[in-house]
C-alpha cells in the first residue's frame, strides 16, 4: 500500500518558498511528494486554485505563508487565514475531506520545519489514500 501522494504546494516567495530553498541547502530529507508553485503572497492564492487542484486529482494542497506580523504586504497572510478557515468548512460541507488541505506558516529561516511539514502531510495523505475524485482512483 505504499502510495505516493501528489501534493500541490502554493508557497509565498518571501517566506515558505525561501524556507523550502533553505531545506535544500541544509540537505534536509523529505519525500519528493510536493510540487511547489511560487506565489507573490499567500494572500494571492484564490480558493479557486485550491479547488481546481483538488478537482484535477491532487491528493493534497498545502498553502504556505509568512508568520503573523511578517507579511511583506502587511496583511496578506491574515486574509489567507480567514479565507482558508471558511474554505475548509465549505469543502467539508460539500462532502470533501478537508484534511487534504493544509495551511502552514513557515518562514525563510525554517528549512527544517518545511521538511517536517511535507513529511507529516505526506504520511497523513498516505493514511487517507488517493483523492477520491481522481478519475483513475
Amino acid at each position: 500500500m505504499s502510495f505516493n501522494p501528489n501534493i500541490v504546494g502554493f508557497a509565498c516567495q518571501w517566506c515558505t518558498y525561501a524556507g523550502a530553498d533553505l531545506a535544500g541547502n541544509l540537505r534536509c530529507k523529505y519525500p519528493p511528494t510536493i510540487k511547489l508553485i511560487k506565489v507573490p503572497c499567500s494572500g494571492s492564492v484564490e480558493p479557486e486554485y485550491i479547488l481546481e487542484s483538488l478537482a484535477r486529482g491532487a491528493d493534497g494542497v498545502l498553502v504556505g505563508g509568512c508568520h503573523y506580523g511578517d507579511c511583506h504586504y502587511k496583511d496578506g497572510n491574515y486574509k489567507t487565514s480567514r479565507r482558508m478557515t471558511v474554505l475548509k468548512k465549505m469543502i467539508e460541507d460539500a462532502g470533501f475531506d478537508p484534511r487534504r488541505f493544509r495551511l502552514e506558516w513557515i518562514s525563510g529561516a525554517e528549512g527544517k520545519r518545511f521538511a517536517e511539514v511535507v513529511e507529516e502531510f505526506t504520511r497523513e495523505l498516505q493514511e487517507l489514500g488517493p483523492n477520491p475524485v481522481k478519475e483513475d482512483a
Partner: protein, 326 residues
C-alpha cells in the same frame, strides 16, 4: 418586414418560474411576439408535443431557450433533441446555467431525497414507503414508464453545447425585455458568453458605500437575516449581513437589496469568476476583521456549501466530481 424568428422554449428540470418571468414582460412580450414565431413551447404553454420537436428538421428552430437543470432522463433526452433542432441555444435562468436551487440536492444521497419527498414529509401518506419506479407493469399487462432520476444534477452546458447564458432565479422581466430586444435585432456577443450587462449587483445597488463617499470598513460582527432588521439604507455587508452582491451579476437591478434582503447570487457570477462559491469565500472573508470573525461566520452558517453555492452548486469546480451525498 424581415422573416420572423422561429422560437422554442423547453422547461427541463425547472419550476417554470423562468417562463412566468417571460410572460411577466406583458406588453413588451406582445411587441416581441410580432418578431417571434413560437414553434415549440413545452410542456407548459403551447400545444406541441415532444414528438413534434423530434419530427422537426435539424436546425429548424432559430432560437431556443431552456429553463431548468438536468435532473432526469427526460430532461437529458429533450435537451439533446432541442440542441439538434436549434441554431442558437440559450441556457435561461440560474437552474439552466448553474444548477439552481435543486442542485443543492446533490449534497444529499438519492435515498435521503426520496425519503424526504415520498415518505417523511408530514403531508405524505405513504405507509408502505413506495417510491416512483422508472418502469413497472400494471395488472400484469400494461408496461408503464417514468423518467428516471439521474445520478446528479447537471447544467445544460454539461450535457450539450450552449451558445448563451442568462442568470437569475428567475431573470428579471425588465432584463428579459432588453435581452429579447437584443436578440431580435441580432445584436449578440460572441458565442459562449453570458447575455448580461457585466455589472455587479454592488454597481447597481443604491447602498454602495462608494456612492456615499464612505470607505468599506472591516466587518467585526456577522449576522444572519433572522438575527435582526438591518438599516434600510446602509450596505448590508458593511452591517455584517453577508451579501454576495460584490461577485454577482446585477441584471436584476439589485432587487433583493431594494427590499432589505442580502443578495444570494441568483444572477450568476460576474465575468472572470470560475467558481462562484470559492469567490464568495474569497471576497467575503477579505472583508472580515479578524480570525475570530471568520470563526463566528463559520459557526453561524452551518452549511457553508449550501450557503455559498445556493444557485450554482452544479457549476462548482469540485462539486461535479463529488459523489452526491458523500
Amino acid at each position: 418586414m424581415a422573416e420572423k424568428i422561429k422560437f422554442g422554449f423547453l422547461l427541463a428540470g425547472g419550476c417554470a418560474g423562468c417562463e412566468m418571468a417571460l410572460v411577466d414582460m406583458s406588453e413588451k412580450l406582445l411587441d416581441a411576439l410580432g418578431h417571434l414565431d413560437v414553434v415549440f413551447w413545452a410542456p407548459t404553454v403551447a400545444d406541441v408535443k415532444y414528438k413534434d420537436l423530434e419530427a422537426m428538421e435539424d436546425g429548424y428552430i432559430d432560437l431556443a431557450f431552456v429553463d431548468g437543470m438536468i435532473r432526469n432522463t427526460e430532461n437529458e433526452h429533450t435537451v439533446k433533441v432541442l440542441r439538434q433542432k436549434s441554431k442558437t441555444l440559450v441556457a435561461f435562468g440560474a437552474c439552466a446555467s448553474l444548477g439552481g436551487i435543486a442542485a443543492l440536492g446533490d449534497c444529499h444521497s438519492q435515498e435521503e431525497l426520496f425519503s424526504q419527498a415520498y415518505k417523511d414529509t408530514f403531508s405524505t401518506d405513504n405507509p408502505d414507503g413506495i417510491y416512483p419506479q422508472p418502469e413497472c407493469t400494471w395488472e400484469g399487462k400494461y408496461d408503464l414508464t417514468l423518467p428516471a432520476f439521474t445520478n446528479r444534477v447537471s447544467t445544460i452546458d454539461q450535457l450539450v453545447e450552449v451558445d448563451y447564458f442568462v442568470g437569475g432565479c428567475p431573470p428579471h422581466h425588465d432584463f428579459i425585455a432588453q435581452l429579447v430586444q437584443a436578440i431580435v435585432s441580432g445584436n449578440l456577443p460572441a458565442k459562449g458568453s453570458w447575455l448580461t450587462s457585466g455589472k455587479a449587483v454592488c454597481d447597481i445597488c443604491k447602498r454602495n458605500p462608494a456612492d456615499h463617499d464612505q470607505k468599506r470598513l472591516p466587518i467585526g460582527e456577522v449576522f444572519r437575516t433572522v438575527d435582526g432588521r438591518p438599516d434600510e439604507d446602509k450596505c448590508l455587508l458593511q452591517q455584517g449581513y453577508i451579501c454576495f452582491g460584490p461577485v454577482t451579476q446585477g441584471d436584476c437591478g439589485a432587487s433583493c437589496l431594494n427590499v432589505n434582503i442580502p443578495c444570494r447570487g441568483c444572477g450568476g457570477p460576474i465575468p472572470g469568476v470560475r467558481d462562484y462559491g470559492a469567490r464568495c469565500v474569497s471576497t467575503i472573508t477579505s472583508s472580515l476583521k479578524d480570525d475570530e470573525t471568520a470563526e463566528e461566520f463559520v459557526k453561524k452558517f452551518n452549511d457553508m456549501a449550501k450557503f455559498c453555492y445556493r444557485y450554482s452548486y452544479s457549476a462548482g469546480i469540485l462539486n461535479q466530481k463529488l459523489t452526491p451525498g458523500k
